[in-house]
């Protein structure tokens, strides 16, 4: 067995990485914290924390609005962050990067604006059975408002999309497809290149929910040819309250404004208002300036490690944990797709996931329990919820060993 804390196959410098994340040295209930909930929110490296403090100590001013030095410096920092994100996603233009509050906000923006202009009664919107509520509810609400129809791509027992059914669901009535890149509950990596290509044959645009993907894999929006791609900063080791909507220039130019107010205009009068060019058309009010700056710092940080290295290391953790859980009596893994990210949902026969989560937390282990904002998935598997563990590149096999011991102790206590 490989020495604890070091995975030599990938060559990741795990001890140095863990030292970059101050929270990992915390104790919970007198035990060392084992944080297996990065899928809910990722921890922040010192660089990101420092960047936010530096912003408030040295730069704080409103952006796009003033001519004084602080305002200019902050505007430059914020717009540089936009360019960092553009390059990270390989978007063609920085103005294709719209800052939002997060993925939920980004999807609501597209649903509202796209819906306003392009959705009418009888039109169809396609989502999948594994979507997070944030990629269901905005579309469901839009359908209710417009008399449109929400169609659902089914999944199989392994938690994979049934592509044959997807092909049948794409029709002349389909106006948009909204799909998760990676399932936050099942860990399934969806074949989004194929999904996008099939939709584009019928000129149907595709929005990809990348919330769970961006921390685990490189995303090239031009190569994917997706029409929209969105993610949250806090899942990419950046601050909470900031997110990104990438949209192809042609779409963002066509979509009407979403939330309007200061910052979104060229001219305003009571008779008529002319809206600003991209991306400011979609960025109303004072934004989460330090959030954008912090997110760019987080992206620069993970690029020093490299997403390919991160993906390879996390795959080792996934295999190690999956193997260990499969050997643990009574454990059943939910979501066994051939291609998975480092997300494992499981149940233990006869035990409620909340009880398992509570006793794991008592031993210092942070997991997530419940429906994970994916109630349709729970309905499919007839479960009240699952226990979910999600790994990031600061987790180790040693932590997985301790988790398994704690899980066995938990199961024994609950039986």
């Amino acid at each position: 067995m490989t020495a604890p804390g070091i995975i030599n196959k990938t060559g990741i410098g795990i001890e140095k990485i863990r030292a970059d994340f101050p929270i990992l040295s915390r104790q919970i209930n007198g035990k060392k914290l084992i944080y297996f909930d990065s899928g809910a929110t990722a921890q922040k490296p010192k660089l990101v924390i420092k960047a936010i403090a530096d912003y408030y100590e040295n730069q704080n001013a409103n952006i796009h609005r003033g001519v004084h030095t602080l305002s200019q410096e902050t505007t430059v920092a914020y717009e540089s962050a936009r360019v960092t994100i553009q390059k990270h996603l390989n978007a063609k233009h920085p103005h294709e990067i719209v800052f939002t509050k997060g993925t939920t906000d980004a999807i609501n923006l597209v649903a509202c604006s796209f819906g306003k202009k392009y959705i009418s009664k009888g039109d169809e919107i396609l989502v999948s059975a594994m979507e997070h509520h944030s990629n269901i509810l905005p579309w469901q609400q839009l359908c209710e408002e417009k008399g449109a129809v929400l169609k659902v791509i089914p999944i199989n027992d392994a938690g994979e999309l049934i592509i044959a059914d997807y092909k049948k669901l794409l029709s002349e009535k389909t106006k948009i497809v909204a799909i998760a890149h990676i399932s936050n509950t099942l860990g399934t990596i969806n074949p989004i290149e194929e999904i996008i290509a099939l939709a584009h044959v019928k000129n149907i645009p595709v929005l990809v929910d990348g919330a769970q993907a961006v921390a685990h894999t490189a995303v090239n929006v031009q190569a994917l040819d997706c029409d929209f791609y969105c993610f949250s900063g806090h899942k990419l080791f950046g601050p909470t309250g900031i997110g990104v909507l990438y949209g192809k220039e042609k779409w963002l130019n066509e979509l009407p404004p979403y939330q309007v107010g200061g910052g979104t205009i060229k001219t305003v009068s009571f008779a008529k208002t002319e809206y600003a060019d991209l991306p400011l058309k979609f960025e109303a009010g004072t934004p989460h300036i330090e959030g954008g700056i912090g997110l760019a710092v987080a992206i620069d940080y993970i690029n020093t490690i490299g997403l390919d290295t991160i993906a390879a290391y996390e795959h080792e953790l996934l295999e190690y944990a999956t193997h260990a859980l499969q050997k643990t009596e009574g454990v059943r893994i939910i979501g066994t797709a051939k291609k998975k990210a480092s997300v494992i949902s499981f149940v233990v026969d006869g035990l409620h996931p909340y009880d398992i989560g509570v006793l794991l937390d008592a031993q210092g282990i942070a997991t997530r329990t419940g429906h994970h904002c994916t109630q349709p998935i729970m309905d499919y598997y007839c479960l009240p919820g699952t226990v979910r563990i999600t790994f990031a590149f600061y987790n180790t096999t040693e932590e997985i060993d301790q988790f398994i011991k704690a899980l066995i102790r938990t199961i024994e206590r609950l039986r």
């Binding site: 006793l359 937390d361 008592a362 102790r409």
Partner: protein, 141 residues
């Protein structure tokens, strides 16, 4: 019937054996839940679900000779343990005694720091419902 204060002190003493070990405290809570009297499935209707609990918790009460008797069930053992503990404190007491119960044991056994905000909210909801039942019975009599 012991007074509510005496029952609370009993619980404090039982939990003091575990000192700060949260795992053992939860274990004890779960044991209390396992000993909860079985509830007739016919009583587990939607209108008896306590709102605000993360797990499903059903609560039933009836007044006999001026005292309230509670029955409950939950689909998660920790929630069963919490409601079992509250039933142990409240059941067989008058509406007045229930409404005036100080419930200091919750803090003394460290329950509020053990429970996440959502689960602490669930415990509050249980207590609130039991006290609402007590108010209703007090008004009736």
């Amino acid at each position: 019937m012991m007074s509510i204060e005496t029952i609370e002190n009993e619980i404090i003493e039982e939990f003091s054996l575990f000192e700060d070990d949260v795992f053992d405290k939860f274990g004890r809570l779960i044991d209390l839940g396992k000993n909860l009297e079985k509830m007739d499935p016919a009583l587990k209707t939607d209108n008896r679900l306590i709102k605000g609990c993360q797990a499903n918790v059903w609560l039933y009460s009836e007044l006999k000779d001026g005292k309230i008797y509670f029955k409950a069930d939950a689909d998660a053992d920790y929630a069963k343990g919490l409601v079992a503990m509250m039933i142990r404190v409240f059941t067989g007491h008058t509406p007045e005694e229930i409404l005036n119960a100080p419930l200091q044991f919750i803090q003394k056994i460290g329950l509020n720091s053990m429970l996440s905000m959502k689960r602490a909210g669930g415990l509050e909801s249980m207590i609130k419902q039991m006290k609402l039942d007590a108010i209703a019975y007090k008004v009736q009599s």
